[in-house]
C-alpha cells in the first residue's frame, strides 16, 4: 500500500521525536484507520490536524502552512521594487502565538528559503504595555522574544507604551503617570482598550519611520479580523472597516505613507496554534492572571461571539471575511485622516473641514486652561524645555479640533471624564496640520482655474 520512498521522505522529522511518538503513531493508525494524510497518503503518518475538512500529517501540514503564507507575504512587498532587493519592514510582535508564528513563517520564506526566497530586511518591534496592564508578564515575554529574534537573526526593539508621551529617559515615571491618567480617564473599558491600541499603532508608525521602513507587518489572525468586523461596526467605525480588515492598509503620517499589512489573515487560530506547537513549542503565558472577564468590553464580547460562531460552523470566519472584502471605503483623500486613530475621514467630515473659514475659531477641544500640561508641575518643568518633552507649554499647540476626528473618536473623546485631559503630542500636531492644509487649500482655491472657466 504505502510507497516506501514516500515513507522515508515524510517520516524524516518523526525520527527526531521521542520514543513514545511511535506508540502514539500506532494507536492513532488503529483508531482512525479510515483517515489518512490528504497529501502524502502514507498510512504510517500520524495525523495532526483536520485542515478545512482534510486530514494532514505533521510534515505535510508544516509544508502546507509555509506555502499558504508565502503569497500573502509577497503582497507585503513594494511591487515596483526589484524582487532581489530587500525591503526594510517592521515586524510587530505582541508576545502572542499568532505574531510568533508569523515571525517563524517570515524566516522560513526569506532567510531559510531553499528556492524562490522573498527579500526582506526585518526589524522586530515589541510595544511593552505593562504600565497599563500590570498582570502582563513583561520579563518572561521579553526574554522569550529576544531568544526568538536572535534565533532568526532579526534585531528587536522594545518600546514602552508610555513613550507615546516622549522618550526622554529622565522623565519615564512621569510619562507612565500621564499614560495611566490618559487611559484611565475613559469611563468604559472598551474605550480604554481602543485608546491603548491607537497609541500602540502610533508608536509602531513612528518606529517604522525612524527605521526607514515603509510598512509594519502584524500577526493578526482571521479570527481577530472577524472580531474587528463586529467590533468596528458596533463602535460606529464602519467607514474604516474595509481598510482595517484588508491585507494592506495605507495611512499618511506627516507626508510619509506607512502601510499596515496583515499576512496571517488566512489562518484561523486552531491552525496557528497547532503549527506553533509542532514547530516552535509552547510560548510563555502572557498574563499572570486571567486577563479578560467575558463581558469586560465590547472587544472581548465580540471575540467571544466570533469563537462561538466558529464553533457552530468552521466556515463562519472565512465567510465573514470574504463578505468584508467586498466592502470598499468610499473616498480616500490622504490629506484628511483622523488625528487620533488615522482612519480616513468621511466626505461629510472633509466638506465640513473645508468649509471652516478661520482655523482659530474652530470647535476646539482645548481643555487645558492653565499652561501646564499636568498637575505635577515639578516633574514636568524639568523636561519642558527639551524637544522630548511630553507636552508643550505653548497653549496653542495643545489644541485639538473635534472636526479633525472621525465620528467614533469624537464620541470617544467626549466620553473622557478628565477636564484637564492631555493627549499625546502627535494628536495635536495632526489636528493642526490637517486644519492648516485645509486652510491653505482654501486660500489658493480662488487662484485656481475652475473647470467651468475654460
Amino acid at each position: 500500500m504505502a510507497n516506501t520512498s514516500e515513507l522515508a521522505v515524510c517520516g524524516v522529522n518523526d525520527h527526531e521525536d521521542e520514543g513514545n511518538e511511535f506508540m502514539t503513531v500506532n494507536k492513532v493508525a488503529k483508531k482512525d484507520r479510515h483517515k489518512i494524510c490528504y497529501k502524502c497518503r502514507d498510512i504510517n503518518q500520524k495525523l495532526i490536524i483536520l485542515f478545512r475538512n482534510e486530514a494532514y500529517c505533521k510534515t505535510c501540514y508544516i509544508d502546507l502552512i509555509r506555502k499558504k503564507f508565502k503569497p500573502n507575504l509577497a503582497k507585503c512587498r513594494d511591487a515596483s521594487r526589484p524582487s532581489r532587493e530587500s525591503e526594510n519592514v517592521v515586524i510587530a510582535l505582541s508576545g502572542g502565538t499568532s505574531s510568533n508564528v508569523m515571525l517563524e513563517l517570515i524566516y522560513q520564506n526569506t532567510t531559510n528559503a531553499q528556492k524562490s526566497k522573498l527579500f526582506f530586511k526585518g526589524n522586530c518591534v515589541y510595544i511593552d504595555e505593562s504600565s497599563i496592564y500590570p498582570n502582563l508578564k513583561k520579563d518572561d515575554i521579553e526574554v522569550y522574544l529576544k531568544k526568538q529574534c536572535n534565533l532568526y537573526g532579526y534585531p528587536l526593539t522594545i518600546i514602552p507604551l508610555e513613550n507615546i508621551f516622549g522618550d526622554n529617559p529622565e522623565n519615564r515615571e512621569h510619562r507612565v503617570k500621564m499614560l495611566k491618567e490618559s487611559v484611565e480617564s475613559f469611563s468604559s473599558q472598551t474605550s480604554r482598550e481602543d485608546i491603548s491600541i491607537f497609541y500602540r499603532e502610533q508608536l509602531l508608525r513612528k518606529c517604522a519611520l525612524e527605521l526607514k521602513a515603509k510598512r509594519v507587518i502584524f500577526g493578526t489572525s482571521s479570527v481577530s479580523l472577524a472580531t474587528k468586523v463586529f467590533s468596528l461596526a458596533s463602535k460606529g467605525r464602519g467607514f474604516t472597516l474595509p481598510n482595517e480588515v484588508s491585507i494592506s492598509n495605507q495611512t499618511e503620517v506627516g507626508g510619509d505613507s506607512i502601510i499596515f499589512n496583515q499576512p496571517m489573515k488566512e489562518f484561523i487560530l486552531k491552525e496557528i496554534y497547532i503549527y506553533s506547537r509542532n514547530v516552535i513549542g509552547d510560548l510563555p503565558t502572557q498574563f499572570s492572571s486571567w486577563n479578560a472577564p467575558a463581558k469586560q468590553s465590547l472587544n472581548t464580547l465580540c471575540e467571544d461571539f466570533v469563537h462561538t460562531l466558529q464553533d457552530i460552523s468552521s466556515q463562519t470566519v472565512y465567510t465573514l471575511l470574504r463578505s468584508a472584502d467586498k466592502l470598499v471605503t468610499p473616498t480616500l483623500d490622504n490629506n484628511f485622516y483622523c488625528s487620533l486613530c488615522y482612519c480616513h475621514l468621511s466626505t461629510h467630515d472633509i466638506n465640513h473641514i473645508n468649509s471652516i473659514k478661520n482655523v482659530k475659531s474652530t470647535n476646539s477641544n482645548n481643555n487645558n486652561n492653565n499652561n501646564n500640561c499636568c498637575s505635577d508641575n515639578s516633574s514636568c518643568s524639568t523636561t519642558s524645555t527639551t524637544n522630548n518633552s511630553c507636552c508643550s507649554t505653548n497653549n496653542n499647540n495643545n489644541q485639538l479640533s473635534n472636526d479633525t476626528l472621525c465620528y467614533s473618536c469624537r464620541i470617544l473623546v467626549k466620553e473622557n471624564r478628565n477636564p484637564n485631559l492631555v493627549l499625546p503630542k502627535y494628536i495635536y500636531e495632526n489636528s493642526k496640520s490637517i486644519l492648516t492644509t485645509a486652510q491653505l487649500k482654501n486660500e489658493i482655491k480662488d487662484f485656481l482655474l475652475d473647470d467651468n472657466d475654460d
Binding site: 492513532v28 505582541s94 502565538t97 500577526g219 509542532n278 486571567w290 472581548t300 467571544d304
Partner: protein, 96 residues
Amino acid sequence: MKIKVELSGGLELLFNKIKTHEITFDDKKSIPLKDLIIWMKDNLLTERENLFIVDGTVRPGILVLINEADWELYGGIGYDVEDGDNIIFISTLHGG
C-alpha cells in the same frame, strides 16, 4: 487507567497555575471526554468554571488536542479517553 492532562495559553491560571495534571481512574478502562471535563471542573478547576465549560462542552476558543492531534479528527467532545492518553487544552483567547 492513567491519563495526562495539559493546560496552556493561560488556561492553567484557572487550574491553580498548574500546567500538567496526572489523573488515575482505578475503576475505569475509558472515560468519555464529556465526563472528564466535568470531573476536571469538580476536582481541578479553582476559579470561574464558565471560562472552561459552556453548555456541557469546552468553551469556544479553547483548542483541544488528543495526543498532539486536533480533536476534530476524533469527533471532538464525543471522544472516549483511553489509558495513556494525553489531553491538551489550549486557550486561544486574546492571542494576537
